[in-house]
Subunit: 460 residues, 2 copies
Amino acid sequence: MLESKHIDFLKDIVGEDNCFFDKAHKIAYCYDATKERYEPDCVVFPRSEEDISSILRYCNENAIAVVPRGSGSGFTGGSLPSSGGVILAFEKHLNKIKEIDIKNLVAVVEPGVINMDLQKAVEEVGLFYPPDPASQDYSTIGGNVSENAGGMRATKYGITKDFVMALRAVLPNGEIIKSGKRTIKDVAGFNTTGILVGSEGSLAVISEITLKLLPKPKYTKTAMGIFPSIESAMNAVYKTIASGITPVAMEFLDNLTIRAVESKYKKGLPTDAGAILICDVDGSLIEDVEYQLKAVEEKFLENGASEFKKANSESEAKDIWFSRRNASQSITIYGSKKLNEDITVPRSKLPELLEEIAKVSKKYDLKIPCFGHTGDGNVHTNVMVEGGSKEQLEIGHKAIEEIFQIAINLGGTLSGEHGIGLSKAPFMKLAFSEAEMELFRSIKRAFDPNNILNPGKMGL
Amino acid sequence: MLESKHIDFLKDIVGEDNCFFDKAHKIAYCYDATKERYEPDCVVFPRSEEDISSILRYCNENAIAVVPRGSGSGFTGGSLPSSGGVILAFEKHLNKIKEIDIKNLVAVVEPGVINMDLQKAVEEVGLFYPPDPASQDYSTIGGNVSENAGGMRATKYGITKDFVMALRAVLPNGEIIKSGKRTIKDVAGFNTTGILVGSEGSLAVISEITLKLLPKPKYTKTAMGIFPSIESAMNAVYKTIASGITPVAMEFLDNLTIRAVESKYKKGLPTDAGAILICDVDGSLIEDVEYQLKAVEEKFLENGASEFKKANSESEAKDIWFSRRNASQSITIYGSKKLNEDITVPRSKLPELLEEIAKVSKKYDLKIPCFGHTGDGNVHTNVMVEGGSKEQLEIGHKAIEEIFQIAINLGGTLSGEHGIGLSKAPFMKLAFSEAEMELFRSIKRAFDPNNILNPGKMGL
């Protein structure tokens, strides 16, 4: 609980209208996509970088936890105030696109800007911001940077970190720092930008983000391949990319997911298929796009696709994407609770990964529908359980732990896009040695010696 | 001076054949491209990661400085043992390409591998490693990663940091850590890879590097534009790129540089031109490459180019590149000592930057030929002085300091590719606030509390 003198001080900084400690606000800011609940002591809407600085300086001196929060759409509890304290919320004031610099292909934004709003704004001037997490309609750029968000287009374009050129941020002691420049090359000083991206709000509060933009490709084409088995589809994925074609997206659905979507939406999907692959290619020259599509078709057929379907219009492309876009919500037919993980392995290990997951499914007698971004080795693995039963949930968690271990043994990671936060913190020991964890703790202390920023996250 | 017990211990670790403290070795390892000289106390060639670990653990306990060294080709003294101590040299043992993984488009190398050897090895299997610093024939990947090396192809492909997927490294306490994965997506734990790249060997000793590779583009085309003025050329650079074309390289030579090359080599260069731009475009479809070249031609002519020349063969391309490749050595006609800086500004600021540099040249009555990687805003600025005269050198340094300040005022950086090391350390205060410097020192302490790794670099 915050003492009343602290609340008075915070109100003094940001004004009565931007500082709340009533029950309604505490409830409104206690959740994220994990469905865990932790009420903050106070919700503050900073109006400026200077506000953030004053708040942090005060909280640092008084050992009050501060948790920066975008839209609360995270899957691992990164923005949950698990130790209470102050929620710093950016949606009210720090939500502006400050500049779209078409001369240098750069955008400068405040942390509360919604990803899709930025995408639309830059596309209006012929530019392109590729990172497109599934939450793009509501997640913020500040949250995307803090969790190093991925998305569908990572295969070709990379993830959030590949687009962050520079940051302004406030350290826990209230000092404002800049890192990086509006230039491709900048090698002066340590790469602070590099360590802040993906640091889950635990090192500094990001107050401004400078992003690299690309020219908007003029054409995108969509195609779908139907495969008899998971293995044939996974081979097609990595062999296509190794052949020199880099699709924008290469998404897959396994048989369980196909059947779930079909049972819900009756779209005429092939319910006996082992897997579907959905692929986008793009470019600014139609000949180039057609060439890529032809190469994908060849690789799909070489690797056992029974059918290859090209979209001839935007509405056909939308139809092809329908099954993927509705995968997540459809699989709930297999259980009321979904333990949704986002493990990632080197692409060539995908066949083995999915074979091993099938064994785990059999062992625990649990349905584990899988779909996701196979173009970059990132598989959304959904262990479905009946949420009401504590026993079932425990079995589900055991299965998840085994799957993490399998991914790590294959050279993969605990998390491709969701981060660690609270949910994956117990599994950090599977992935990191004690020396590595101690280094993380040292880095944390270097930025935040009093441990006020988003404490308790990442297993630190 | 190292005590003899220390030397005995180091010999015990790596063997007599890999540990030297004779004068010849000290001299052989006392230099880099800055021409500053600092003799180490000892030169050690570790045979393995375990050797590095044993050496660091011992030196850490005994407060002995350790300086990792690739080929000593750096321009800012990053590998100079300015506090004495042990040189860790990688050219003898840790110089192997461990794996080229064509399935996942990844290479795994030891730090002592020469950049060009890696480029050739991956090109043999149809792959491509883009970072190509001018030192590519002799600089090492370990050095490239430590200085975050750039090169000619950065405009399209980015710099070293954009290709480092994972590292193994040894901390000063001897602990071996891994960071990153052989995957595009990995958001578990802090991005240690991000902070190690460009850290100039001052945080940890990198023992293994996993690099992203690309499919090798099938076609490259070269063209040259001749411009009446610097300003018209600089406008052509940023307007070409802002129009949606991303050339591989977009290099420029100013009038002083053109005249220097011509006076030395008599190639028929236009000595009255304000600037030359040299441009490479590439792709895997010839139509795409032709389309890019056409677009470059249009933009060059729109922005005042008096001539646009396309290379019709590899030998014509080589001819076009000749002036750029020989720029650095030719400009010595303007003075025996070259104060060579690599400032970088946002591309749209290039016209202003070069205008301001011309004023500095006039003010100090010094020739300042400029050339470089304008596609990414990176200009090699060469203040030419008579090296014998201390007075001239002082004036040169004053001019340099003014140029740094101009670049920073334009939103640029002290260093686009060379790093800070010793040479640029005095200028850190121009670019960074005291809070930022203190953060750098905190990060340094988090990794290296006893300050044994490459002490005194970066102005820390």
